[in-house]
Amino acid sequence: MAYTEEELKKELETKEYEYGFVTDIESDTFPVGLNEGIVKAISKRKEEPEWMTDWRLKAFKSWQEMEEPKWANVKYPKPDFQKISYYSAPKGKDKYNSLDEVDPELLKTFEKLGISINEQKKLTGVAIDIVVDSVSVATTFKETLSKKGIIFCSISEAIKNHPDLVKKYIGSVVPQKDNFYATLNSAVFSDGSFCYIPKGVRCPMELSTYFRINQAGTGQFERTLVIADKDSYVSYLEGCTAPSRDENQLHAAVVELVALDGAEIKYSTVQNWFPGNKNGKGGVFNFVTKRGICHTNSKISWTQVETGSAVTWKYPSCILKGDNSIGEFYSIAVTNNYQQADTGTKMIHIGKNTKSTILSKGISAGKSQNSYRGLVQINAKAENARNFSQCDSLLMGNKCGAHTFPYIEVKNKTAIVEHEASTSKIGEDQIFYCNQRGIDTEQAIALIVNGFSKEVLNKLPMEFAVEAQKLLEISLEGSVG
């Protein structure tokens, strides 16, 4: 008879997280715990100027008075912030001048991740910054980019080499005291990427950052700042992986995007942190604050494929401050086994003729919980604002949940806002139809899920769409309901 669900489940349960290897490199890790001394030490280790140290300390003070947010539809043991190490760097030289200086073990890691830096360098024209644990270890293509005046480096370098830009924009979109995890990040961020595109420049290649948590017992707190000056364009992609570990690891990043007049930023994320094993043990807590500000005639487009992490809490948002600015959010969030995701976006319409589009596809399988939470706010002066939102959920089996929590707040009569949501499952008739054409059930599901997610997958840069598609399949294996 047919390959039964049970057999399929068994086969897939034994399939492990593909990226769950630990790289055996020596690292220099701070003792666990968090206090003013640690914050200062991080700043010192990174040879930061005094203003930056002060900025961190201010954030740390605020953080001590804040409480963890509880409103999201997720349940998890509260992380013990005194049991985390806030700084971990692969041992060796602190700075790398070229790839040759990078630990060969580390380079092997990238190859396993599917990022062969050398090859990337030659072929695809994607510039990459790579952050392992807390430190940026390699940035490619610097030269090509610098010819156009584009700055693409680690944020630590930017603090040293471009202090004016950093000073002006850091914390300008996500204020220090924005929320519990953003404030924590402001105090202890260890590295991340910085990108500046000068006026009128179209960045000729995809800029990409790969984040990886490697060291056990560490948190990763990276900070990304992208500034697109007037009439410039950049497409930016980040990818994330972590080894399989039994304990939960904390990832609390902040991403700030600034699109000045006429600029366009396309920011894509493929998030595949370790989701925990099939029994819900381990996995990354992914508590991320991402926000962009749009000035006149500018556009910010967020695309995300979220397949990893035990718990995700993330709302990439757009503040549409300038007239005629555009915000977009395209998301696929897949949860399986015991994963929980509470994700969505905020579109804040302030300027006139502002437009936003939200397209969210949630796929829940196993015993997971998948929530969309979004806010569309049309302020009183935002004449002729438009929003269209669509949230679709696909459920696989009835041990999981799919939830939609949209908030729509409109204070201007010229606004047109439309929100639609639907829930569906994979039909037995669809599967039989595929079977009859010789396509087996597992593949049929992959096909149907792909179709369901297609409108979002299409928004990803070509190079990563394939990777994302593969990730979807891997994440859903064994979830036939």
């Binding site: 008879m1 047919a2 390959y3 039909g427 037995e428 008739d429 669809q430 039989f432 139809y433 595929c434 079977n435 009859q436 054409r437 010789g438 396509i439 087996d440 059930t441 593949q443 096909l447 149907i448 792909n450 179709g451 369901f452 997610s453 297609k454 409108e455």
Partner: protein
């Protein structure tokens, strides 16, 4: 090619087919006719392996193998094709993408290499032309928003692509206007050869003017109550189904 021996089938405990016997050889066209509720669609679904139907007795021998225990995709991979009366929609998956996946699945099942993209493309074009299918149609989502005629044409297009040994066309004529019917019938006729066989399931004789059967069987209350040549269809058309009851 296909021998059905004393086949009994029930759905949710209710018997639908009560002892079907049928023998189809390569190169033949068989028409199965019958009033609504006689079990025609059940017969096609059971041959294709739909698990919603329970075979309580009897065998289905295809190419000298009893296929009763095989999954739907295994039967398909062995060359059984069913054109659905109500083709299913799969949003977001284009006709092209779907047929590619299907062909490569079939090839993989036979331990053969994937079909190279250029050959695939050429074949798609060729078969689309045969069925007068516009190339725009191929990049639409599978059956989503298709008209009745488009859905049926798409089914025959897939048949052309997959080149099955045994094709079962379930009410392919329903929902087709006369022009679309001619295109579909013409397609089926061109695909027919001495090595394959076709079973037409239909309520009306109309389709049989265009695809001429070698044998006609009349199904009533889950049994074949009459068999004959193509003239039987005309007789039925004149006298109506009451005649056989």
């Amino acid at each position: 090619m296909l021998t059905i021996d004393n086949l009994h089938v029930s759905v949710e405990g209710k018997p639908i087919l009560n002892g079907i016997n049928l023998n189809v050889r390569a190169g033949e066209v068989h028409a199965i006719m019958g009033p609504n509720g006689s079990g025609k669609s059940t017969l096609s679904s059971v041959i294709a392996g739909n698990e919603a139907y329970e075979v309580t007795k009897g065998d289905i021998i295809y190419k000298n193998e009893n296929i009763i225990e095989l999954a739907a995709e295994e039967r398909a991979q062995k060359g059984i094709f069913m054109s659905f009366q109500y083709p299913v929609e799969i949003p977001g998956i284009t006709v092209t993408n779907f047929i590619k996946t299907a062909i490569n699945s079939n090839l993989r099942a036979r331990n053969e290499e994937k079909m190279p993209a250029n050959i695939m493309l050429k074949k798609i074009r060729e078969k689309a032309e045969l069925l007068e299918i516009d190339s725009k149609f191929l990049s639409r989502s599978l059956n989503e928003g298709f008209s009745g005629g488009e859905k049926k044409r798409n089914e025959i297009f897939q048949m052309a692509m997959l080149e099955p040994s045994l094709s079962i066309l379930d009410e392919t004529d329903s929902g087709l206007d006369i022009d679309a019917l001619k295109i579909v019938a013409n397609g089926v006729n061109k695909l027919k050869n001495k090595n394959n066989a076709v079973i037409l399931i239909t309520h009306y004789q109309r389709l049989l003017d265009h695809i001429v059967p070698d044998y006609v069987h009349v199904l009533h209350e889950g049994r074949i109550v009459k068999s004959g040549g193509k003239e039987l269809a005309h007789e039925l058309e004149e006298k109506g189904y009451d005649w056989i009851k």
